[in-house]
Assembly symmetry: C2
Homo-oligomer: 217 residues x 2
Amino acid sequence: MRIGILGTGVVGQTIGTKLVTLGHEVKMGSRAAGNAKAAGWVKAAARGASAGTFADAASFGEIMFNCTSGMASLDALRQAGPKNLDGKVLVDVANPLDFSKGMPPTLSVCNTDSLGEQIQRELPMARVVKSLNTVSAMVMVDPAIVPGDHAIYVCGNDTAAKAQVTDLLEKSFGWKTVIDLGDISAARATEMLLALWIRLMGTIKSPKFNFVVSRAP
Amino acid sequence: MRIGILGTGVVGQTIGTKLVTLGHEVKMGSRAAGNAKAAGWVKAAARGASAGTFADAASFGEIMFNCTSGMASLDALRQAGPKNLDGKVLVDVANPLDFSKGMPPTLSVCNTDSLGEQIQRELPMARVVKSLNTVSAMVMVDPAIVPGDHAIYVCGNDTAAKAQVTDLLEKSFGWKTVIDLGDISAARATEMLLALWIRLMGTIKSPKFNFVVSRAP
């Protein structure tokens, strides 16, 4: 399958590498063609990796991953070209973390809105599925490094899109527990979890953790 | 020990009942003396239960639990009388849930502030410890009903107060994993977790669940 990735950071590179390793063709998009991080990733990754602009990646991909930093996501998606994204599944992995006021970061949007909802409003014809934003990049594509039956969440307005992403998470990335939280407004919940995630990372001193949802019988 | 509880709802009643069962003297405070819910609780609870105003409970207790609804907490604490709370450990169990805009509720404060911090600012001489606000009342006092090594959090500015609350959580309530998230500003993290908690309760269709923090070895 042809997959487009927006963003050249650790998350985009980690997901991109996993996907080419699985045999997919992956184009990594960035603000301008010739991005050094994207070029380095293409060089290091397996056959099937390529790079271009946001618009190049968006027109290439049958499925898209938004791995840009949350504060830059809307701008990146506008550059990608809404028409290039029409009807496509767009997995939104970004978190609207605002580091401008120091550590720990705050969220630039939360509580009564979310980045996931902003993206869906900006791209009404895209099929936005919020997922993977609650774990670090290495856990996203290799959940087995964390013990136990820990959970990943999906939410979005398009049921078929959520099913397709769930299938990818389970069969390609190895997730055993994928919890559907409902429509895209549930992105508020998973983005707001970042506040606790960041505090816990400070306590645990590692990003290699996740939450198991344990229920009474 | 003499313990004061502010609030007559399910959380206050559940914690109060647990504490009298453990042999403590507990006074439940409400806006006005003669509150019917408090009187019903006194009647049903074991020896050691009594009721009065917020101020009665605050002057009685050596340790205090704020179990009022979050939107009413600051007003209740003002009625309790800051002088009555000076130097005392105040376990803040409340969440600033705002149901006025429909379901799911939003938070009346979050992201750059929290109810826990508002309370600590309002009562600078009280030793505020935010805890227990991330689980339902029945799990608070009986964590064993949920399987696995699931976690409860404490945060606050007073290390000795956190140690005292941790001891109570472990030895009296039966918690096995108490995670210290740092100063009172970490209340943002645990209060913001409510967004996910509420969505999950809708999915699981039960409040009897909690999160296990699973770490890579």
